[in-house]
């Protein structure tokens, strides 16, 4: 039998400094608990010795419109994100992605930062008996086993797809995260970093899931508000209508000048270890008027660079179909067009 992994203590900091001082490689933050508690109950090897419970940290669950951006506290629940009027008006892809995540019960507890930085849902990673490459083991069991739902990009060392729907939306919205760390005097300092600089992995290092250091706390997400016309959408492909992990998901933000695409950010989810930017699709759209032919041509470029595994070739066609579906929806219904 595998020996059980379980925390030895809980910490309840009431300031960001205290939280950061508790944080090390042997500890993990706990907020909504929808991932941490599930792993704790399963005695998953990823369960840390110390759980740093953030419930006493105040001021991290507000959605505030400020000059040029919307600031969302890291502890804001996905339910709040899904229903917030300013987000629905300015960052609808984010709200939609939140609304499609998990179930009402989970969204009521799950937080923005938790959803961004939750651990992967790979069947092998989650099974406590496999000591996989992600946990320092020597192999990716999915590659030799069942990888029918795994990643199609950058799978050299690990093929666990990134599990966060809101990550695709926030990346497409060019959001940043505010990261707090403590300096030598144990004072908290914070910096704002583009999310796409945080959600990156080393393709050769299967244990990496993002570029956050062990001693960092994400306190806010900052979403720029555009002062030009844009259109945005979040869409997913899944067998079931609700409460399912996406087969493939996509978030698209297009800058529009009259009916011509002026700029584009398109991020694919459930296909890579982190959301994958569909750069060629973006390039194929910029300077074009959206039309059926343009959309098809652009969608077919979305998986450029993908190297699907034997059992997940289907994700390539599904990705093309989903990008076509999302762009067509933008064309047909001018979905969520934001005019400042």
């Amino acid at each position: 039998m595998t020996s059980p992994h379980t925390p030895t203590s809980f910490a309840f900091p009431s300031t960001i400094e205290q939280a950061l001082l508790q944080k090390s490689t042997a500890s993990e933050f706990l907020a909504g608990g929808t991932d941490v508690v599930a792993r704790l109950k399963a005695h998953h090897p990823s369960t840390k010795e110390v759980l740093v419970h953030l419930r006493n940290l105040s001021g991290l669950n507000a959605i505030v419109s400020e000059e040029g951006h919307i600031r969302v506290g890291a502890k804001t629940t996905l339910t709040a994100v899904a229903h917030d009027a300013s987000l629905l008006a300015q960052a609808a892809a984010f709200s939609e992605a939140a609304r499609h995540t998990a179930t009402p019960q989970i969204r009521n507890r799950a937080t923005v930062a938790g959803a961004l930085f939750q651990r992967p849902r790979c069947d092998y990673f989650r099974d406590v008996t496999f000591h996989c490459a992600k946990e320092g083991g020597s192999q990716c069991f999915a590659k030799d086993g069942d990888h029918s739902r795994h990643a199609i990009f950058d799978t050299q060392t690990c093929s666990a797809p990134h599990p966060s729907s809101i990550a695709t939306a926030l990346l497409a919205l060019d959001a940043s995260v505010v990261i707090a760390t403590v300096d030598a005097e144990q004072k908290a300092t914070s910096k704002t970093v583009p999310l796409d600089a945080v959600l990156t992995v080393d393709p050769k290092d299967p244990t990496t899931e993002n570029a956050l250091s062990d001693a960092a706390l994400v306190t806010h997400v900052v979403i720029p508000v555009r002062n030009t016309t844009s259109a945005q959408i979040y869409r997913r492909a899944s067998a079931r209508e609700r409460a399912d992990w996406a087969d493939v998901e996509v978030s698209i933000v297009l800058g529009m000048v009259s009916s011509v695409v002026s700029d584009a950010r398109i991020f694919l989810g459930a296909v890579g270890r982190v959301p994958v930017r569909a750069s060629l699709t973006e390039r194929a759209l910029v300077g074009q008027t959206l039309g059926t032919r343009t959309i098809r041509r652009a969608a077919a470029l979305a998986t450029n660079g993908a190297k699907p595994l034997p059992q997940n070739q289907w994700k390539v066609a599904m990705t093309h179909a989903l990008v076509e579906d999302a762009l067509t929806a933008l064309l047909d219904r001018r979905i969520d067009e934001v005019t400042p």
Binding site: T8, V37, Q105, D127, E241
Partner: protein, 954 residues
């Protein structure tokens, strides 16, 4: 980091907690303790307001709110099932927010207001949502119901604040999408929530006949007072766990429990993998039970399990039929071990001695028995219209929301009371008495509320065996509940199949011949057939059937609602649809013309006439022809038959009192299919009494005999017995009336005076000869005898042997689907069912049972696939996040039409319908997908990716 004991890492630790107010515990104490670090092992005091009452508990910081509510505060109305936040059974409100209590730490409810199912009603007045669930019959087994009600109340409260009128179905479905129901009450749940929000009275789906009682145990289920086996925590109970095989195929060389036996709290250990005559069984599937350990707390039992040393020699693993059939594949059961193979009892095949083994392959069994009909294939080949197709269906797990659980309690007389989540109280009691060599009178089994079963809770299982052995050994109560991962891994499954089918027909649709070869993967078991339906469903001139089993390193299969038939129908009914399409013939007319049984023809016509879809039955890929059309619509048909099994020795006992109350008792089980309501409905209708005066006691082995709840045997057995008992009670009432009033004569509805005044039966109870009158009636034989009378001996149901009646239960289903050509998404819009089960003994629960079967059938067709790791045999789908079942947002409307004609053979006219209703659904859905896309879907589940592949998407 100081080393701190791991004592409190499991919810079992909270068993030691007190539900009474703790000395010195103040509200908010955990909050104060928070400044410093808190050892995870040290229980801390919390206070929460549960349903308006301030409660105190001491909990480990890792304890969940669900465990605290249930085990510390005794609020067992909140159910736990998946433990991962995916099923919603544990939904409660914390400070007005709907949460999954299984993922909420108890310390996070400290100082907060918690509302559970027990706090939803006001005094005895049900909340409008509860009333609507009752009125719409929006439940079956009831295990998901408390969570459903909590989600619905949350939505109702928010809807009431901001909206008027009825919410749209998709709004309700989104709000309820965090709750899973395995029985399939989704359409009624949507109807109930919608009606409550609109402040209209909810009603059962479809037309309700004049005499139809509400679900007799519905109130207990919507209020959370129904007590399931999982809710039993007797005082001083020990908690038991298994040491299981972690790898799919290995020789067990040695099992050393000496270390474990010395661990703190350990009271008893029993070996589960011993081989008769010495040595150990080979481990052939992940999860196979090796040792069972009982300890004071669950956590101690777990830690002791970790200390058991199992020495093994790994063997090669094969998880698929293809891998198991390869030359040189590891052989699961070498000749010397063949006696170890378990029979999945999924379908009658041929006697074992007729079935040869070759490597991992057993069989084939041929039909007609022992023959191979070489002519059949020739006839197919010579036919003007032919269909030759190959199919594969995936393994489907049962996954009832109440996990397998047994609580064995030693009694003062040296016997055992066993609380079990079982479909077979009497069979289980006998099997336990047998194994323990106890007098049958000393073993009593209780299963009053059963949270779903669908076949996997029939008969003796390893959990029963371990619990009773440990209880006898330790002389203490022992509780053994499967964890959810184990529940989905070893809790039961429907075999996967590979089938090839060849049909020959005339251009007019007349079916000539069939060649059907089936192969079933029952895991490490045998005894399934995927061709049983083909034998009797059509009258072919020539038939060749061959069926074999292949053993693989997966957990053994066991009967799953209509064993073998849904997979069989998925192939056969698609082949027949292929013939119909080739002939350009209405697929229902084709079946009517090929049918010789009058009642079958009537049912098929009923489906066709009532569906409103008959004009679309001929369409094939109408929408798909137009490249501009993205949503492709299709209508598909499939039909089914099932046997009318019955137990002539079944008895129902009625105890009537002068106060007008009746207690009906029978040792059947109600897993949600409605057995209690069947009895109540029959008794109330026969005697004209009000349901509130009738109590129905079931789920106790000591009651008058009844069969296990499987095979659709129950209604055809208990309804006639209840009716005969009610008639016997009429006799007693009439005797009393005749004694009290000199000049009465008997009529159907009561006693009539010489002046013609009727005193109905319900008013005659006051005249009973004694305060308590007891009558017991046998079900007895069918009017015209049986097709196969009960055998004098029967291994499966010894003291209630069953017969096969002359009736057959038939049905047709019409599914309407929409397929998104681009994304491959399939949405079932509506399913129309016409079904002949004779007189419907309990119309409301029968309809729910049919709707539930359709939900399970859609789930089977579109979502369900157990996936094992091919190298180790580990279950990759051991949660509701990885094992997908139909959610409420995917649930279509279902119209159910019963053929209004009682059975001519059954004494009460009623037949069981549980199996029949699930058989045709997956095939009807697949046929509808074909009719939408022009592409034949030959594998389950039909995922969007399969559509994309079939449509040639790149």
């Amino acid at each position: 980091m100081p080393h701190v004991s791991r004592r409190a890492f499991l919810k079992g630790a909270s068993v030691a907690l007190s539900a009474s107010p703790l000395l010195g515990a103040k509200e908010g104490e955990a909050e104060n303790a928070a400044a410093a670090q808190l050892a995870a092992s040290e229980p801390i005091a919390i206070s929460l307001t549960a349903n308006g009452t301030l409660c105190h508990a001491k909990v480990a910081p890792t304890t969940t709110l669900a465990a605290t509510l249930r085990e510390s505060l005794g609020l067992t109305g909140t159910k736990v099932s998946c433990e991962g936040g995916a099923c919603g059974a544990c939904s409660v409100h914390v400070d007005g927010t709907l949460v999954a209590a299984c993922l909420t730490l108890a310390i996070d409810a400290d100082g907060r207001e918690v509302k559970t199912i027990e706090g939803v009603q006001t005094d005895t007045v049900l909340h409008p949502i509860q009333q609507a669930f009752l009125d719409a019959d929006a439940l079956q087994c009831g295990y998901c119901t408390p969570g459903m009600v909590m989600s619905a109340v949350d939505f109702y409260d928010r809807w009431k604040e901001t909206n008027q009128g009825a919410p749209a179905p998709h709004v309700v479905k989104e709000a309820m999408s965090g709750n899973l129901c395995r029985c399939g009450a989704q359409p009624a749940i949507v109807a109930a929530v919608t009606a409550a929000c609109a402040k209209t009275r909810a009603a059962p789906l479809g037309e309700t006949p004049l005499y139809a009682l509400q679900r007799h145990d519905g109130r207990e289920k919507v209020t959370g007072t129904a007590r399931y086996t999982f809710d039993h925590y007797p005082p001083q109970t020990l908690h038991a766990v298994f040491v299981r095989a972690e790898y799919g195929h290995a020789k067990i060389l040695d099992v050393d429990t000496t270390g474990a036996e010395k661990m703190p709290g350990v009271v008893g250990v029993v070996l589960m993998a011993e081989k008769i005559g010495g040595g150990f069984l080979t481990a052939r599937w992940v999860g196979q039970e090796i040792v069972a350990i009982a300890a004071t707390t669950l956590e101690q039992a777990q830690r002791a399990a970790n200390a058991v040393v199992v020495k093994t020699e790994p063997l090669g693993v094969v998880t698929t039929p293809a891998a198991a059939a390869q030359d040189g594949a590891p052989v699961l059961y070498p000749e010397a071990d063949r006696d170890d193979v378990r029979n999945a009892a999924e379908g009658p095949s041929a006697p074992d001695f007729l079935l040869p083994w070759s490597g991992n392959l057993r069989g084939p069994a041929t039909w007609p028995l022992g023959q191979r009909n070489a002519d059949a294939d020739d006839v197919v080949s010579a036919s003007k219209v032919q269909s030759r197709l190959k199919f594969a269906t995936e393994v489907q797990v049962h996954a009832p929301l109440e996990r397998h659980v047994t609580v064995a309690v030693p009694t003062d007389d040296g016997g055992l009371d066993v609380y079990a989540s079982t479909q077979t109280v009497q069979i289980l009691a006998e099997e336990i008495a047998d194994i323990l060599e106890m007098s049958p009178s000393k073993v009593r089994v209780f299963g009053e509320y059963v949270g779903g079963g669908f076949g996997c809770k029939a008969g003796l299982r390893a959990e029963h065996l371990a619990a009773v052995k440990l209880a006898v050994k330790t002389k203490r109560p022992v509780r053994l509940a499967l964890g959810f991962s184990d529940h989905l891994t070893v809790g039961g499954n429907r075999p996967g199949t590979e089938q090839s089918i060849a049909l020959g027909a005339e251009p007019n649709g007349k079916l000539n011949a069939v060649v059907h070869h089936g192969r079933s993967n029952c895991g490490a078991a045998v005894g399934e057939r995927s061709t049983g339906m083909t034998e009797n469903h059509y009258r072919f001139d020539e038939v060749e059937i061959a069926d074999d089993n292949i053993v693989t390193n997966g957990a053994p299969a066991c009967p799953w609602r209509a064993p073998g038939f849904p997979a069989n129908a998925f192939a056969l009914e698609q082949a027949v649809d292929d013939i119909a399409a080739q002939c350009g013939k209405d697929p229902l007319l084709l079946r009517i013309e090929n049918e010789h049984r009058r009642r079958f023809q009537e049912v098929y016509r009923l489906a066709r006439d009532r569906s409103g879809l008959s004009s679309r039955l001929l369409h094939v890929a109408e929408d798909a022809k137009n490249p501009e059309m993205r949503t492709l619509r299709g209508v598909g048909v499939a039909t089914a038959h099932w046997f009318a099994l019955t137990s002539p020795s079944c008895q129902v006992r009625l105890r009537a009192r002068r106060d007008g109350t009746i207690e009906a008792a029978v040792a059947t089980q109600d897993m949600g299919q409605g057995a209690r309501t069947v009895v109540a409905n029959v008794v109330c209708e026969t005697l004209g009494v009000d349901a509130k005066n009738v109590s129905v006691v079931v789920g106790k082995s000591e009651l008058p005999p009844a069969p296990g709840s499987f095979g659709s045997i129950s209604t055809g057995s208990i309804a006639p017995a209840a009716w005969k008992a009610a008639l016997a009670l009429q006799d007693a009432l009439y005797r009393g009336a005749a004694r009290a009033r000199s000049d009465v004569t008997r009529s159907e509805r009561g006693a009539v005076s010489s002046r013609g005044k009727l005193t109905p039966w319900r008013d005659l109870f006051v005249d009973l000869e004694q305060d308590l009158v007891e009558v017991t009636a046998h079900r007895g034989a069918d009017t015209d005898g049986f097709k196969f009378p009960p055998l004098p001996f029967d291994a499966f149901a010894e003291h209630v042997p069953f017969a096969v009646a002359k009736d057959e239960v038939s049905s047709a289903q019409i599914a309407e689907v929409e397929v998104d050509r681009l994304l491959g998404t399939i949405r079932v819009k509506r399913v129309v069912v016409a079904l002949d089960a004779g007189r419907i003994a309990s119309p409301i629960t029968a309809r729910s049972q049919v709707v539930g079967a359709v939900m399970q059938g859609i789930s089977y067709a579109l979502y369900e696939a157990r996936r094992l790791d091919p190298k180790t045999g580990r279950n990759l789908t051991d949660s509701f996040e990885t094992y997908s079942i139909l959610g409420i947002a995917d649930a279509p409307d279902v119209d159910v039409h019963f053929l209004p004609a009682p059975s001519e053979n059954n004494p009460y006219g009623s037949l069981g319908l549980g199996e029949n209703a699930i058989i045709a659904t997956a095939a009807a859905v697949a046929n509808a997908v074909f009719r939408a896309t022009g592409k034949r879907m030959t594998t389950t589940p039909i995922l969007p990716r399969a559509i994309l592949t079939a449509m040639g998407a790149k």
